[in-house]
């Protein structure tokens, strides 16, 4: 009986810690009104710009739909991926000192990581919703739940990329440089404008989610292999980011 009560107290304490970590992460983000404006204004601007810019391209044999639709689809995916990615990066780098203090007061580092990841997931849900609504005004989306799920997945995936980069590179300038180069290579390769060769392009984070999202928009049926590969990518990145966060953002954060 006493053991069971002790276990439930631990669970409650963990949940409470997670709640504190999450609310502090969200408060930190919403404290700056420009961040909220960004969250609302940039997704429509990017989705529309991508579609519009790509409408000037010819329809090439390897393109699965018209360039304008391809652009709007790619723009939606990128918006859903990169805002959580940038948030993930700054969550880890900017809050390094705050996390250290929380850690000293008894917060396990894994709980802090989960709180940061939950904040990224909240941002992913928001950007996925906004960008999908914008996309539906530009083109028909055949399978809305699958499309939404994929967008949330890429948000979490890039959030983990951002957190991993932030854990490895402790300064904002270096972290931002790396994230921007990784994201832009991924973005250009997954955009569908250029045909890429070989298996190398499949190693980039957006390759499989792009296939899944395209299938959801067109209603062509989700390939199990793509879904498994995207899920595995998230899992591996999650383990790597957790490992890097718990080991590399240790006590040196206070120095």
């Amino acid at each position: 009986m006493r053991e069971a009560r002790g276990r439930s107290t631990t669970v409650v304490a963990r949940a409470r810690r997670l709640e504190v970590g999450l609310s502090s992460a969200i408060r930190e983000f919403v404290r700056e009104p420009v961040n909220l404006a960004l969250l609302v204004a940039l997704p429509p601007a990017i989705v529309v710009s991508y579609g519009s810019m790509m409408s000037a391209f010819p329809e090439l044999p390897y393109m699965s739909s018209s360039p304008e639709t391809l652009g709007a689809v790619a723009g939606t995916l990128f918006v859903a991926a990169f805002l959580p990615g940038v948030i993930g990066l700054f969550q880890v780098i900017s809050a390094r000192r705050a996390d250290e203090r929380l850690s000293l007061t008894g917060f396990p580092r894994a709980t802090l990581f989960c709180a940061r990841l939950l904040a990224v997931a909240v941002a992913s849900l928001l950007t996925a919703s906004i960008s999908l609504v914008v996309l539906t005004t530009r083109t028909d989306v055949a399978a809305l739940p699958a499309a939404f799920g994929t967008l949330v997945l890429v948000g979490v995936l890039y959030g983990l990329v951002g957190m991993l980069v932030g854990a490895v590179l402790p300064r904002e300038l270096e972290g931002s440089l790396v994230l921007i180069f990784v994201a832009d290579v991924d973005e250009a390769l997954a955009s569908g404008i250029v045909q890429t060769d070989g298996a190398f392009a499949k190693l980039f984070p957006l390759h499989y989610p792009h296939e899944l999202f395209q299938a959801a928009v067109e209603g062509s049926g989700v390939a199990t292999g793509d879904a498994l590969a995207a899920g595995a990518y998230v899992l591996v990145l999650g383990v790597a980011a957790l490992g890097a966060y718990t080991t590399l953002t240790g006590e040196e954060g206070l120095r």
Binding site: A56, V194, D197
Partner: protein, 243 residues
């Protein structure tokens, strides 16, 4: 002038003090161009350069597009963080008597150096696989792109916070250089001529694939740079007063 030199040296020292940053400035442009050269198929595509249609290899085309873009990304981020990290210091410098042109000269010098280093690295990497027809002009176009985006990054850094600034700079150069200025497109997008990458990319593609280069995009690009620098200077002066 002495305070401009001291501020420039201090800014430079901050870069030199972080070997990771220096390594990234060398590695990232090389990685960027290397990846694109590697994954592109070896096929020819018709492109419109300098008013005539040429058959160009896809790898060479993407390498020519991505070299100025690498400089734009480095320049943009360097400009953004230069303004963000130096804001407090610059306010103090102005209080102790450094004039606005001196501070601007020092910060602009650091930014120009970062853009030049990134451009040199990117151009050196691209010559390993595809030597542009006019290397000097191609380098000039790449440096101009880096400077333009560096100045724009500084402007973004004065208006937005770091998170928002990084997000804007993540999409801006790609939309401009990779999509709007792409020679693969059959028609010029309505906004493309007004974007910062327009004149540098005209010059870069001309220098990459034709033997004779028309220098007029360089002058137009420098004019664009001057206009952006003027706006950034005014925003900087306002930020100093507010600070």
């Amino acid at each position: 002038m002495r305070s401009a030199r001291t501020t420039f040296e201090m800014g430079l020292r901050e870069y030199v003090r972080t070997p990771v940053l220096l390594a990234l400035l060398l590695f990232l442009p090389a990685y960027f161009i290397g990846v694109f050269s590697y994954v592109m198929p070896d096929q020819s595509v018709p492109v419109d350069v300098g008013g005539e249609t040429l058959q160009v290899g896809m790898q060479a085309l993407v390498a020519a597009l991505m070299t100025p873009m690498a400089a734009a990304l480095v320049g943009g981020i360097a400009g953004l963080f230069l303004m963000q990290s130096a804001r407090d210091v610059d306010t103090r410098l102005s209080i102790v008597g450094a004039s606005l042109p001196e501070i601007l000269l020092a910060r602009g010098g650091v930014l120009a150096l970062a853009a030049a280093v990134a451009s040199l690295v990117a151009t050196a990497v691209v010559t390993l696989t595809h030597v542009p027809e006019q290397v000097g002009w191609f380098l000039a176009a790449t440096v101009l792109t880096g400077l333009l985006y560096g100045t724009l990054g500084a402007l973004v850094g004065l208006v937005l916070n770091r998170l928002a600034g990084v997000y804007v700079l993540l999409f801006g150069p790609l939309l401009d250089i990779f999509l709007a200025q792409s020679p693969l497109s059959t028609e010029t997008h309505a906004v493309a001529p007004y974007l910062p990458g327009h004149y540098p990319m005209e010059l870069a593609l001309d220098a990459a694939f034709t033997a004779g280069v028309d220098p007029s995009p360089l002058w137009w690009g420098l004019g664009y740079l001057l206009a952006v620098a003027l706006v950034t200077g005014l925003a900087f002066r306002r930020a100093l007063r507010v600070g």
